[in-house]
């Protein structure tokens, strides 16, 4: 049973960043803007917020420091994503081009400035954030072991983001308008919705979430930041499509991916799998192969926002 708990706890570490970042991507794509820059924005958010943790070590620690870092990561990601919003909304640039530029810029920027600030490119930090067991809740049998032990506050932030995203997207006027812009911006415009404003909102939300996702990815899995989030931004993009631009499905998709990633990373500690003697590379490949297979079966009725990727031009009706 302990193995099940520890696998589940670790799955959360891999699931949460994917969930948060894919939800961010969802807001952007639902407004009609493809955000392929999620990877770069994650790196930027991770870089600035880990730098903050590094610089305030000794002054701050624990959950307060992490919460401030989450806010900083979100703001950094949002500001960085402004570049993508400006290019794709105001300049009507090809959205893959500016996204690619951001992906290239962020890691180079992080390495360059880490070297200038402290000589080496890795930014170390003390992990004072792990929660051994949440008071009271951690003592509940099974559920306590699954959700409230060996955890991080970021896991709950991820769940909060999921709940809020679902409500905002489906139960608010803003969400309805955002979705309208991704499906048929001309129609949205004709009833008085400011399409550009909505698309800015979509991209900025994706920026904030991706920035937070960068931090959430690094904190439980490492003790330094090396200008990389190991392709998680691209995986989040896959999760988003896998999840058909729908929050609950995105949750399942990211959990699925997180679980397979955990198995690949720690199969030797799982007695059943260790006994099989399958090489580790097979486990590493499984998440990607499975995704392809699942997509083969689910892509026929794609729910992609109809107008995504097409710059909105007021004049073209």
């Amino acid at each position: 049973m302990n193995v099940v708990f520890s696998v589940f706890q670790q799955t959360m570490f891999f699931t949460m960043p994917l969930l948060i970042v894919a939800l961010g991507g969802m807001f952007s794509e639902r407004s009609g803007i493809i955000n392929i820059a999620l990877e770069g924005i994650m790196i930027m958010g991770g870089f600035i917020s880990i730098l903050f943790i590094n610089l305030t070590q000794g002054v701050l620690s624990g959950q307060l420091q992490l919460l401030i870092a989450v806010v900083i990561a979100g703001v950094a990601g949002m500001l960085f994503s402004l570049l993508h919003a400006f290019a794709s909304i105001n300049m009507k640039a090809d959205q893959t081009i500016s996204g690619t530029a951001l992906n290239l810029f962020a890691p180079a920027f992080a390495v360059f400035f880490a070297r200038i600030l402290q000589g080496v490119q890795q930014i170390q930090f003390n992990n004072t954030f792990r929660i051994e067991s949440v008071p009271v809740l951690g003592n509940i049998p099974i559920i306590g072991d699954l959700f409230f032990k060996n955890t991080y506050i970021t896991t709950y932030i991820g769940i909060l983001i999921l709940v809020l995203s679902t409500i905002v997207l489906y139960k608010t006027r803003f969400g309805l308008r955002l979705r309208a812009c991704g499906e048929h911006p001309q129609a949205a415009d004709s009833v008085g919705i400011n399409v550009y404003k909505m698309q800015y909102a979509g991209v900025l939300i994706s920026g904030a979430f991706a920035g937070i996702g960068g931090l959430v990815f690094v904190v439980p899995t490492s003790t330094n930041f090396n200008a990389s989030v190991a392709g998680y931004g691209f995986l989040a993009l896959a999760v988003l499509i896998f999840g058909q631009w729908n929050p609950m499905r995105i949750l399942f998709a990211s959990f699925f991916f997180g679980l397979l990633k955990t198995v690949a990373a720690s199969y030797s500690g799982i007695p059943v799998l260790a006994a099989l003697g399958v090489p580790s590379y097979i486990y590493k490949m499984i998440p990607y192969i499975t995704t392809l297979v699942v997509l083969v079966f689910t892509s026929k009725n794609s729910q992609a926002p109809r107008a995504e990727g097409i710059p909105y031009d007021k004049g073209a009706r």
Binding site: L83, M91, A93, A108, F112, L237, I241, T291, L292
Partner: protein, 359 residues
Amino acid sequence: MNEAKHKNMVGLLSSIFAIVVGLLFGFIVLLASNPTQAVPGFFTILTGSFTHGLKGIGQVFYYATPIILTGLSVGFAFKTGLFNIGTPGQFIVGAFAAIVVGIRGDFLGSAQWVVAVLASIAAGALWGLVPGVLNAYFNVNVVIACIMMNYIGMYLINFIVKGSKTLFDSLRNQSLSVDKAAEIPKMGLNLLFPESSINGGFFIAILAVVLIHFILNKTAFGFELKAAGFNRDASKYAGMNEKRNIILSMAIAGALAGLAGGLLYLAGSGKHIEIVDVLASEGFTGISVALLGLSSPLGILLAGLFIAYITAGGFYLQLFEFSTEIIDIIVAVIIYFSAFALIIKTFIERFDKKRNGGK
């Protein structure tokens, strides 16, 4: 001015504008981080590749060879309206096929390098074919399929190389060296650029540029591909075989990226497949090259040479205690601004109007 010429002009001008802005930004970053070293540092970026005369220039061509081809791969798929972000995967399976022939194919004699190069093309084509088929028949998003194929390719190649006694050098944790006969002949380039790593692969890359230019601009097939890129529904309505075009376009794009991997790992410059879980950067650089080159074969050739040139210059930056990442920063800014072709176009049109007295 006729329309095609006008378009090329706008493209060229917007690329030059982007390059100027990118370099300026790079200079400002250098200035902000270390004012005293900024001027010599910036000068080094521009002239570093000439420091060793002809050898340095030969190195630029050597660096440019694979990224011209991955750029061509991305650009070719772009013309069909497909974003081939699968170049890192196609590149590494191409490299793998080449080194397999290069290590085990000694019975091939002097044809070994040719077969190795062909193997890299075939492997890359296969890796590009998969996303093409998945998209054409199952509507799977090409970008996602390509990303998945990147990781599958990387892990698969590491797995096979590491597990094979005849391919793996366990001391260095990398693939063994290929046979001498599998190295691409220098084709006289070593005489022109002594001591550099340049080889006949550069000619092969040029040949590929010409071939792709020909396919896109002079054949009915190329016309169909471009038509599908402009408007997929219209081309389908006109009776073009949409599925076949998607699949062929991805396979050709994959073949080009595979060839890039083959040429680099057969260059005889000490390149080996290292067993690390990192996607091939040459593949991603291809995206930058294609974007800067505006997806046209000739533009990609120039863009590949330019990026190789400033990358080579960047190596010397370490003398001034700047890290080479400044080059990536500059390239990123260049690409960002090259997306702004629209402003340049408006600017030129305004200028034209003024000159023609508003006619």
